[in-house]
Symmetry: C2
């Protein structure tokens, strides 16, 4: 079994959080409540009084944040502010080579490009917590947002394992969450599939209704299925649009595949081959079975075991683990991880 | 203000319910609990003991049900059983010209065709309650399923107004629900838009994930938006498939329109016209505003007023009312209705 990381914890200085919105504020509060030393900076100081009351040390400038020498700085700022913040951080970080950068963005390729453009690629490890809701801002931030959260970490061939470990331990030990490890492309394709593309589909649905001459009648007949399928189209279309444009290539490809699927069903409904329609409704059965297993609660009871990670090719080995449906519960010091087998298709 | 219908209630014998599944069982229980005399028949007698305890008189045969001379018989049987049941009812109904037939099917054109084929068109008025959940069968039936429900009634140029009124009053006065009045085509197009087509879209989404080589990773990253948008794809694909095939023409047309919308966004993401993407996300704003008004609670506080219904062309006048976003609360004896203005786009 993987040992505790008491030694590592003893030398950890602090975690730095840039941006006290919903995601960053919730993380900072969760880390603070769990006894981690947290320093934070926000582009406006309005959350500072409450954050300080929560045990978060708030800094007037990014320079002060860096001078506190956090082991890990988590970029929780909006993506559009990323280039400016990275540009400001670069000279500030120069004297502190041990500080590792990570982020919480919902697209990873673009962030890595921005970090590379800022000359900070060597100290970057990507991260994306599966946490969030319809709200935004510090006022909505709460430690429970991360309860039972899974994070996707993203790495490339040049990622330093020790920096990777620093971020991973912040997630598993400090935040008490689980991890899967991906490359940027795998992450962004998966995120486009389960979030970015469906957001476009939901928006197309409400456009279809809005453009219908009998839209009031259709809206009157709408029940739970319509409500569920269009919920994400209702809030903050600007945020959705930004998300879609940041992952444009993957979303474009998936929209064309979805359009082809819908056209195929239309053709089959027009045709007389009942078998084709039956096959369409049977195709997703592995996902139905997977969801059924997850809902049964069996998912959280999967076997827990140690995984030995090769020093060379650790990225690919951890990606394979994710593909097998394993979640990492914590990392050891010696290229090992404690993982749990979850439901898989 | 529209007067009460005490006189009509005094001569009403009973309501007959054929099929004690989720929809029929809930209706029968709701009517019984509200003091309406209810007779029922089910293809298997297993719910009879509980139904009798709820005050529902259960009949061994359809003949007995008809002989109880209900003013309205509500066909709550599965659509696939409809031709057989209508065929059996036709000779039984012959001596009882005052009995009106209605149903609760989620597609209306097909039911009217079946009723016409059975030679019963003259006494038929269509109905579709906006009520239901993921469950099915008598065990799930509950009067509260119809709380605050809206029913779509469907009529054609030949519908007898007195028969229409009999069904409408069962809905408004007996069940305590609201009504909008449509023709079959308008109903089926709207139902395809807000339910049947979206069910196909949800199924296409889970197929897209199931067919992805990284499906376990995608499923691990899935959050609330994915869960909401695919919920209806998880349960009872056979029921969904039947629903889609019963409304095939409308679903086919809408799937092609949705495919065109998704392809257009894909083209726009590939292109460089940011204005086009902005327009896509702005298009559905009237629906967002409508939902915002409904959620604010203002929807239930709309003005209530009397509507005078022309004896000639009452069908078109009531369809116009539905298009304006009005719900009918009850009908008077004299071609009037008490209606409420609801939120509209």
């Amino acid at each position: 079994m993987v040992g505790s990381h008491d030694t590592a914890a003893a030398v950890r200085l602090t975690v730095g959080v840039i941006g006290l919105g919903l995601i960053g504020g919730s993380l900072a509060r969760r880390l603070a409540i769990r006894g981690v030393s947290v320093v934070a900076w926000n582009h406006r100081p309005h959350p500072y009084a409450q954050a300080e009351a929560d045990g978060i040390r708030c800094m007037r400038t990014l320079a002060e944040l860096v001078e506190a020498q956090p082991e890990v700085i988590v970029l929780c700022n909006p993506l559009k502010a990323m280039p400016a913040i990275l540009g400001e951080l670069r000279p500030l970080l120069e004297p502190y080579q041990d500080i590792t950068l990570t982020d919480v963005g919902s697209v990873k390729m673009m962030v890595r490009d921005q970090v590379r453009d800022a000359g900070l690629a060597g100290r970057y490890v990507g991260a994306h917590p599966m946490a969030g809701n319809e709200l935004s801002g510090w006022a909505a931030a709460a430690p429970a947002l991360y309860d039972n959260a899974l994070w996707a970490m993203t790495v490339d061939g040049d990622t330093d394992y020790r920096r990777f470990l620093a971020v991973a331990r912040m997630i598993t030990d400090d935040a008490g969450n689980r991890v899967i490890v991906l490359d940027d492309d795998t992450h962004d394709r998966a995120a486009a599939l389960i979030s970015h593309m469906p957001h476009v589909v939901a928006t197309a649905l409400i456009n279809q209704l809005t453009d219908d001459p009998d839209r009031n009648i259709a809206a009157a007949l709408a029940a739970g299925s319509w409500r569920d399928m269009t919920r994400v189209a209702l809030t903050d279309p600007d945020r959705t649009r930004a998300m879609v444009e940041e992952d444009a290539d993957n979303v474009e490809r998936l929209l064309r595949m979805m359009a082809a699927r819908l056209t195929e069903v239309a053709d089959e409904l027009h045709g007389a081959d009942a078998g084709a329609i039956a096959a369409f409704f049977a195709d997703g059965q592995p996902f139905r079975d997977y969801k059924s297993a997850v809902r049964s609660g069996a998912d959280g009871d999967g076997p827990v075991f140690d995984l030995t990670i090769p020093a060379e090719g650790w990225q690919a080995a951890l990606l394979d683990s994710a593909r097998r449906g394993e979640h990492i519960l914590r990392f050891g010091d010696d290229y090992t991880a404690c993982v749990q087998r979850r439901s898989a298709m």
